[in-house]
Amino acid sequence: MSRSSLLKNMSNNTKQTMTVVIALLVLMVVFSIASPYFLQTNNLMTIGLQTSITCITGYGLTFVLIAGAVDLSVGSCIAFTGVMCALLIQAGLSPSLAVVMTLLIGGLVGFLNAVMVTKMRMPPFIATLGALMALRGLALAITEAKPVFIDVPNFKLLAQYRLFGVIPLPVIYMLALGLLASFLLRKTVIGRNVFAVGSNEEAARLSGISVFKIQIFVYVFSGVMASVAGIILASRVTSGQPAIASGYEANAIAAAVIGGTSMRGGHGSIIGTIFGALILGVLMNGLNLMNISQNWQMFATGIVVIFAVYIDKLRSMQGV
């Protein structure tokens, strides 16, 4: 089979994912030449650990973006749920019960976002921007802007334990949740309907799809994913930090968009988001190893995101 017909036979989604994988490989080759330390297991695991937060939050954003909406509140939600988790443990709850409660709180935050967007008919951008500010304020207010320490030894294992002494648990969560998210999105009725709603909300409504239900689903999922990230972060720093994860919504959106999720709704994949998050993680890690300052790292990330959005725009102009 010739190369061109091979390309023709791949679906657009596959083509997109291939592009992202190639970009990731190129980055990795460049950094492994630039720094001998880059490919060492320890460093790769650090990348995995750093990527997991962006990636897990990114799963939620992938759902929301495919549904044609956006959730800007996830960064604040990470901090808020982390603080809540710490407070619950301080109040004497067992770590496992505290984790379950925290996940529920994340779901509740998502539910409230969805109510603002559906029942109150607010534009998603504005509604979740409000939630971003409100949740951050709440996290700071209830802690008086001070960290809430967690001195239960078991809790820190959640994020700090390494499987076989090598793989950090958050990397495992990232992969397991990725499988779950991908299954929900591609194999279930509700996941498939997310695409329909994102592509054309009115057509979906007139086909008898409950748009309300779909939006509740994507926002609750996004809130729960943010709370998972909140718990992981709290476990890593063994405290609830009200000022943590500021701007993480941008990373999560960037991961999804780099991975081919459309800001206009209707298109996207979980595997794409994983690679998108890896590109961001590798980029920051590699630049770090090359002793490039945090400020320039941020600049580089921004350029990558702009480039990814531009690619998305090109795709839409070709009508793909």
Binding site: S199, A203, R205, L206, G208
Partner: protein, 501 residues
Amino acid sequence: MDELLQVIGISKEFPGVKALSGVDFSLRAGEVHALIGENGAGKSTLMKILTGIHKADAGELLLKGKPYLPQTPKYAQQNGISMIYQEFNLIPDLTVAENIYLSREPRRFYNLLIDDAKMNRETQALLDSLNLQIKPTSKIYDLSVAEKQMVEIAKALVEKSDILILDEPTSALSENEVQKLFSIIRMLCKQGVAIIYISHRMEELSEIADRVTVMRDGRHIETANWADVTIPKLISLMVGRSITDQYPERNVAPGDVVFEANGMTNQKLKNVSLQVRSGEVLGIAGLMGAGRTEFVRAIFGADRIQAGQLIKNGSPIRVKNPVDAVRHKLAYLPEDRKKDGLMLDLEVDTNILAASLSSYATWGVVNEKKCREVVEEKINDLAIKTPSPRQIVQYLSGGNQQKVLIGRWLCRDSEVIIFDEPTRGIDVGAKYEVYCLINELAAAGAAIIMISSEMPEILGMSDRILVMCEGKVTGELSRSEATQERILSMASNLAINLSEN
């Protein structure tokens, strides 16, 4: 006679498609030149070359005898060629005058400020010259579809166009709005403007066209004086074969009343009712804005109602939203397929399954094999022309897109099927197929409600016809009673009221 525009041997190839091969065409000052052909015949490509959107690969254009090489739409406009598209290019939040003078507003105070007074004055003069009752200061979103169309035409006239290209200009207009458009067209022709008029509607062309050019498969087939040809002849030239019946026979006696809507009332509807039997096609006729679409949307739960009751198979049903409607086996194929019907950037299979995914799932998990079978079956049964079930639906022709929507509701075994303008923008051959499908659905026992603004379609397809006007039912006619004149007189209460005022 004077040839205003000559197109000589124009060819255009897109990757994989020969869109135009050696097309000739000519246009005379002051004529209405109908351009007809099925979708994909190359009409739009030719127009896009004339208006500078595409560049021809080969051939020559002569405008007033001089070579004409349009590079951009702006260049075409400056040379007096304007096109009015089916989808309007007006900005809803701006006023009529602001839209007409967009990017060429008259200025004052060292060219820094827009001279609103002058702009409105000149717009008023322009609208007056077209006998239009539109205010220059009205916002576009307050206008009817017909009025928007007139504003588009006025906008083209500000450019001092010699050639005006109209693409399906009447597809959203009611009968008397069409007449208004025609009188404007005739007036323009008297002033020497040449009109290229693209349409599928033969009856209207008979009224307005001086000459006609038929295209098929990217070729010029025939140019003739309209008076010298017959409609059947033109249709056979368009499709390359002859179509004997425009509307297929239906030989089913309608059964019992399966669905009733009683006293539907909201802002747009005043106590509207209907009954439909199984195996029956109930046509709803009326002018634009008569409340037909609002009526069926209210039935389907898409719009809120203040009062009204639905009865299916003898028992009342509650339909608060489309989810309820679909559960009660109602189906709705909206008039604007692209806006309200299809997920345009998703695949054929996703679109077919959109209303029925949960029926092919256990515990919320989709049964892929079952879905594939169902989609294959619908594609075969409805003869949907698509290279694969994974094809993005926007690349299908209008007829095939409509079949995809029909397929969507066949998956639900819908019992009451509402078609809103089922053949709008669909070419002649595919129209016939859609009619056959509607008949098959009726024959299988479905109750069909069909809204149409095309008089022959209403007359040719319906067993019974409801006529609506100003949100009320103003008449009901059986197939044998119905004539174009009777329907029109029932539908035009509005026009009479207006002239009294």
